[in-house]
Symmetry: C2
Subunit: 239 residues, 2 copies
DNA sequence: ACAAAAGTGTTCAACATACACCCATGA
DNA sequence: TCATGGGTGTATGTTGAACACTTTTGT
């Protein structure tokens, strides 16, 4: 029974049937951004059925634990980060989705600044994998990833989630590369800059990049406070 | 044990603890439209704790049942309708949300043409309740309703879900009244008509209203096929 | 003839898109 | 001086918003 809390339900086979008819887990799709690519934090599955395949970070929810708390626990256990952006996406409950029995999983996605993370030394199997290189995954995790990626793309256009993927100080170029990587399309540089500068939510830090082999870019910081105050509501009917 | 399948987890107290550590249920927020008002199908709770309060339609998920199947089952049991629009919204898992123990519930919303529904005679407690009159509800159902209503409002602006709330043949006026009721704001008639007619997704049926004490309106039908083919993808970055 | 809702067009402002040149820096 | 990306403005088309009168029907 103890092992239920210390082992990971996705990487170690547990006879859930002996404890629960139905078990609840949380799976986290943790997005990061590095080398101009969108990445996801994944672990190699230990489970025989899925030996060597990539798996999301997940765990069962403890009987007295809130769902969101469980997601934060997984996140801080694996990345050491607290207070990160986290959002529930969807629940996956296919009867045969887990070989150990009926495991219904609630998927969350998170966006973190990958640069500020020391992966736990205890987990050499943990890797930041570029999203576009991912093919097979364990369980239905490929599908979960897909749905979370869709959600991220939608949110990026409507809320300032992207800034959590960058360091606090960033150039407009970095921001654009990020948007292009997540939305998977090229954007016009002048229009992109115009748009973000005209939103008036980027604080000009009066600083510049250094150590670049070309003209250094100005650095900005996203003003979350100003955003919270001037939040736009969404109006147009269009489909 | 048998009673778990025939009784409703939200209206009859069951000692879940004896069977499961955690139970999974599905709750359906079923929207309808009548008398120019958005309504939800609700039932009076039988549970002592929530005697007389409104409750969503829900039931526990059977061990071998897909989540979505469970939602469809609830829907067709209560409304007799098949093949309706149904969408998963969010999962609610607060530790104390159900007095019978830990019950994690997956919320779905549905939109149906209320006119085509005969409520099951076996359920005199079932009612179409105008959304704006709803105050207290059993459990956390008020919160669930709120979240589903938000989602419905968002979807209405981006996908043609609204048409499922109307009869097959409808006037532009009826469509506008529906949008105004769901989005809770007035819309300009000329702009509304222009927008929907220019989408070119409404088939002019060459029919008119009858028995109205004024000039009869033309009737239209939404062309779902055409929509599926010309689906817009959503582009602008705005927040 | 009157009441009640149907139907219709134009103007203006805001915003998305397309597009090309000069500038600052390090090598 | 060259290579590399940083930084800028204008013109055009589309779309949303505001707004008032005529038409058709039933009573």
């Amino acid at each position: 029974m103890m092992s239920m809390y210390t082992k990971n339900i996705n990487t170690h086979l547990i006879e859930i049937k002996d404890y629960f008819k139905v078990a609840i887990s949380v799976d986290c799709v943790i997005f990061g951004f590095a080398e101009d690519k969108l990445k996801v934090l994944l672990i190699k599955s230990d489970l025989n059925e899925y030996k060597g395949k990539w798996s999301l970070l997940g765990d069962i929810v403890r009987p007295d634990e809130e769902l969101e708390k469980a997601a934060y626990r997984i996140l801080s256990d694996r990345t050491g980060l607290e207070n990160v952006y986290l959002e529930q996406v969807q629940t996956f409950g296919a009867v045969d989705r887990h070989p150990a029995g009926r495991v219904i999983t609630v998927a969350y996605y998170s966006v973190v600044n990958l640069a500020g993370i020391c992966l736990q030394a205890a987990n050499p199997e943990l890797h930041w994998v570029p999203v576009e290189t991912i093919r097979d995954m364990a369980f239905d995790h490929r599908q979960i990833l897909e749905v979370c990626l869709d959600r991220l793309q939608q949110q990026m256009m409507v809320q300032p989630v992207g800034f959590n993927l960058l360091p606090e100080k960033f150039s407009l170029r970095a921001l654009q590369v990020l948007y292009e990587a997540v939305l998977r399309r090229e954007l016009d540089r002048r229009n992109f800059r115009k748009k973000f500068l005209s939103m008036d939510l980027l604080d000009d830090l009066q600083e510049e990049e250094s150590d670049v082999p070309h003209r250094p870019a100005k650095l900005y910081k996203f003003n979350f406070n100003k955003y919270e105050q001037h939040r736009k509501r969404y109006l147009a009917i269009a489909f």
